[in-house]
Amino acid sequence: MTRDADATHRESNDTAPSDAAPTPVCPPFDPRALARRLAIDGAVHWGLLILVVMIIALGRFMTGPTAIVGDSLVVGVIVGWIWLSSVGARAAQQLPIIARAVEIDPAVADTQLAAAMRRPALPRSVRLMLYAHLAGLRHHQDRSAESAAICQAVLSRMNRPMLLGGRLGRGSVNVHMRVQLLLLLAESQLNLNNLAGAHLAIAQLHQTPRTLVQTMQMTALQTQYEVSAGYFQLALNHIEQKIRLAEAMPWPQCGAMHVMLAAAAHQAKRPDLADWLSRRAKLLCTADQLKTFSMRLVGVESCPAEG
């Protein structure tokens, strides 16, 4: 190293805050860590509930000064319960902010998620939602394998029957989260070229109630799966309905659907339909988008108007 370079190096070391702690981000996903955190959360919540019941039950036998102790214990446990609830509520309030950050600024979302996940004794649903957002974040960061692993772990936890015979996936919020996770899983599997995994996720999506927007997303993923797997005729089934859904999609997705359907029609030897879809795709997509969408369909001969 020359003297000048050495001086510059020293100077930069002087100006940079040497003791600045690195911004915390979420570590690589480990299913055992998720299981451990959920077990701790559950133990704290159930422990407090059992304590309340015990104190109330024993309170009947307390008289005189011991009754005051019992009442104080009840108040203490209730205060503890309220504190826990407020921690959970604050984390729940952060969820929409994190969801937005995932779309706009993944680095900030990573930091926010790391901070939220460190909180102790979160409600189970909030903890799972945080992991669902982590799956979305990893998907945005093109870490499809990790995203798929998180989706699978969270989905398996959601399916597990809880105490008192309840299931987490009953409320509409949880159904919504389940569908979002399945959509993410299907897309991640398609990115990883794991067609069997994508098929499984799409099959589960068909059995879950969805909103129209989710149905559109599912249709797009299913078409991509069918075209990638070579089921061209299947991709063209109910074509009018698929085009109607595509027209309601935001324009890049609408264009992508047209490109995929055009490729399917070309392969299924329906030149008129392929030509009509390709001409529409050329109006709906920019040249760069057409190239990108065609590249997604690896191994499928592109449609005539595109080439």
Partner: protein, 297 residues
């Protein structure tokens, strides 16, 4: 007896409906109710020596939980209905969506977000069902309540400008489009900029500035692309400008060809009937034969 057919409201009916079911703040006492009940129960637990009867004091808390659950369920139902209204708009089922929005609006008076969504859907349906006067009332209502800098507000202003053009309020529309031009660079490439461009094109049609529309046509494909298939309306309007200028232009053959090219692009994205229903000016071209070779030229 068949059920009465739902007719889209007039501007006066829309005004009356919005005034009768305007947004209002939820009762302040409702927010304090859980806290007051909880404090009351705790105080009684401390001071009352009721033995086993103390357990009865938990009854109000139980009632409170049931009440809170019922409220949450009601809100969920309203969210579902608002979502259904939006879905019907997405599927272009405007009469059904308008009917549902009209009937749901009274229940949404204490939920600002849902109320705004329902009114926005109502305005969009009214525009699509060619009721621009009533749509302007709904847009005015929303724009009075939304922050001016919200991207949604810009988009609503573009839609209101188009409704104003449709009702011949040309000065108001011109002022609105001029104001939107300042925001154009900020939202370039987004849907909002595309709607502003569409409003400008519609203005050129309404004010017979065909030459201006033709002169700016080079960038139209890229500028309207974010609208998806709805860009077809813009291509149809440009085709109409070419068609009109072909009747006076010196370069008549070129203008005629361009009119057919843009019309075939429009008809590729939307049916000629749909185009002519939204913009009656386009009726003149709705029976033109469609040939893919024209569009490719």
């Amino acid at each position: 007896m068949p059920p009465p057919i739902f007719e889209p409201p007039t501007a006066e009916q829309m005004q009356a409906h919005l005034s009768a079911h305007a947004l209002r703040a939820p009762s302040r006492w409702l927010g304090f109710l859980p806290l007051m009940l909880g404090l009351g129960v705790l105080t009684m637990l401390f001071f009352a020596d009721l033995g086993a009867a103390a357990l009865l004091l938990w009854a109000p808390l139980l009632g409170l939980m049931i009440y809170a659950n019922a409220r949450a369920y009601r809100l969920q139902q309203l969210q579902q209905r608002t979502l259904r209204i939006q879905e019907l708009v997405l599927l272009c089922d405007y009469p059904q969506s308008l009917q549902l929005a009209w009937r749901t609006l009274p229940s949404l008076a204490t939920s600002a977000a849902l109320h705004h969504q329902a009114v926005a859907c109502t305005a969009q349906c009214l525009t699509s069902l060619r009721q621009p006067g009533a749509a302007i009332v709904a847009y005015d209502y929303l724009l009075d309540r939304l922050p001016l800098d919200e991207p949604v507000a810009y988009e609503l202003r573009a839609h209101r400008a188009m409704a104003q053009l449709a009702t011949d309020r040309l000065t108001d529309a011109d002022q609105a489009i001029r104001q939107l031009r300042h925001a154009h660079d900020r939202f370039k490439g987004a849907t909002l900029a595309a709607w502003r461009r569409m409003a400008q094109l519609f203005q050129q049609v309404r004010t017979h500035h065909d030459a201006d529309a033709v002169a700016e046509s080079d960038t139209l494909l890229d500028e309207l692309r974010p609208l998806g298939v709805e860009a077809g309306y813009g291509y149809g309007l440009l085709a109409y400008c070419y068609h009109r200028s072909a009747q006076h232009d010196e370069d008549q053959p070129r203008a005629s060809v361009q009119a057919r090219v843009w019309w075939s692009r429009a008809a590729l994205l939307l049916s000629p009937q749909t185009l002519a229903y939204r913009y009656p000016e386009l009726e003149a071209m709705s029976d033109w034969p469609l040939d893919p070779r024209i569009e490719k030229s």
